[in-house]
Symmetry: C2
Subunit: 338 residues, 2 copies
């Protein structure tokens, strides 16, 4: 059983994924693989029997589960960081605290076509991916053990992807991750002081000044954030206050699909298809926080263009060599095909 | 002038290093360089005139500054993330907060010999490096604008090193970085509750259980921490309570040099000389915190053996596939040469 362990000093929970069980040999540099094409991909259409059975798929009426024809397909992660079975069993170990690594770890296969990426999907296909995110969240929220669901994507090896075929991931957690807790706390303090949502205020200022604005449509804004940690970091936020990603309306997802596709295309043009992560930060649930007033869901896109994350990961202190105003201007002015 | 900008939501300060001014072209993948040996290294003995003038050097009595013969040499960073001149000029920008990027950014050249690394230096040479850290801290602490000095090392390109020749870095900051603030706060809460230092309690438990112990000597302990974020992460801590690295005694540095050298050698054996960072966390100064009772300086060593930092950097949530007990056992049992 994987363990969730709490750092006794800063209170940060970490998943110790015992069952993935890597030994030091696994980390030694391997000889470079010969330049062979991957012959087999379990995520491709036609290979449905090579993955765990699907949890959800958008497929034509009447077509059988785990058969071809699907547009988006959600499966359990074959090597999950967390296990769905069991109770939390919180306990101490001397001065330390731990609980069972209970949670869900799922994979959203974004397209049956190995050659497509999120940036090359049609807006309609991308909208399907967003709907699948929502449907899985709504289902997992029923499980009272969970407090937070992380939706994220690793694109490219340097960003942590181990499988090439386009996919996102979902982890349902019995705790709220640190960065979200920090945002909740900061947003709450601002709200207590101003009686306004800090995210709404950011959107207002960015729409006025326009220097960090990448793009906007009726429902969403894409900005390079003022204190961006990484070069070409961008955030997509709903223009109207909304704590929950999963409460978005149909027209929201249409508009979100358009701005996300546009942002990824701009990023690919500007940085020649860089590795990147995205993370959706949405309000926690099943707990006592009353954060609907001050928390505002958003999507953060973090391209990997520098190696400097090493030092930063030990300090939480970031040096960003590209001012977000420069990044936003560059992304705004990228020449887009029609 | 570089800027320090505060994230309006979580309050995290970021250095926007405007003068390093990278544009998107700088991040596009370059054609692989032909396999030529670097012909010239400004950090090598004999090339002292190719670096900014030295701030400090340990060299034979009577030898001239910026000439060969030194054992350790400290110079200003040629491309500093922060500038030493000027005032902080804190100001707002609408809802945002910023100040001038005032600080010091120095490079400690650990050896005149291009082929040596921290792990191959003699204990005596390594002790000289530690003394140079201390001497620079004592000097920079006099500057009342600074509150914290970060000492760190990037080894290997994946860990952020851009220069091969063995060197560490120092950044003096007008703010305390987030991870240190989190540690201070957590340690303070524990102290308020227990009237004991959390680090001292960790040391006691680790010396008793021994499962996460890598090594120890009279003055220091090396452990794989209970909630390690990264595979083979290790911490070196002084066994007796000490908030300030720079207050260490002569015999401390002798013992620290031995355990640091031993740990790096074990890490190199276990992981085949991996890229790594180390960071020294020591008490802030020139401020109102009274943290001497509860903060305990330590050195964190973070090897880079996985790519998963990508997702983690967006969430602060870590998945570690190697239990620290396994890592500690492996490092303990590495066969060392005499």
């Amino acid at each position: 059983m994987p363990e969730l362990r709490k750092d006794p000093i800063v209170g940060r929970w970490v998943i110790i994924a015992t069952e993935r069980g890597k030994r030091s040999n696994d980390y030694r540099p391997a000889a470079p693989a010969p330049g062979v094409e991957p012959r087999f991909c379990a995520f491709c259409s036609g290979n449905e029997d090579k993955t765990p059975p699907e949890i959800l798929a958008y497929r034509p009426e009447g077509s059988k589960p785990n058969s071809p024809g699907w547009r988006v397909r959600v499966i359990p992660n074959k090597f999950p960081a967390l296990r769905i079975e069991g109770g939390l069993n919180r306990e101490g170990e001397g001065i330390y605290d731990k609980m069972n690594g209970v949670g869900a770890h799922e994979v959203i296969i974004e397209t049956p076509d190995h050659k497509q990426t999120l940036a090359t999907l049609t807006d309609k296909q991308l909208e399907d991916v967003l709907w699948s995110f929502r449907d899985r969240i709504l289902d997992l929220k029923k499980d009272k053990r969970f407090r937070f669901i992380l939706l994220f994507k690793n694109y490219g090896e340097a960003a942590g992807a181990t499988i090439e075929h386009g996919h996102s991931q979902l982890i349902a957690l019995p705790i709220v991750p640190r960065n979200v807790l920090d945002e909740l706390q900061g947003a709450k303090e601002y709200y207590n002081f101003k009686e306004r949502c800090i995210f709404c205020d950011i959107i207002k200022q960015e729409l006025t000044s326009k220097v960090r604005l990448v793009s906007e449509n009726d429902h969403y804004i894409c900005i390079a954030p003022y204190a961006a940690r990484f070069p070409f970091e961008t955030w997509i936020l709903p223009k109207t206050h909304d704590p929950y990603f999963e409460d978005s309306q149909k027209y929201d997802f249409e508009a979100l699909s358009r701005i996300l596709s546009d942002t990824l295309k701009r990023q690919n043009k500007a940085l020649k298809t860089p590795p990147y992560n995205f993370i959706i930060h949405s309000s926690p649930f099943n707990q006592k926080y009353h954060d609907e007033d001050y928390y505002h869901w958003h999507l953060e896109i973090l391209p990997h263009v520098t190696h400097i994350a090493g030092f930063e990961r030990g300090t939480g202190f970031y040096i960003n060599p590209t001012p977000p105003e420069d990044a936003a201007k560059f992304l705004r002015e990228v020449e887009m095909e029609d």
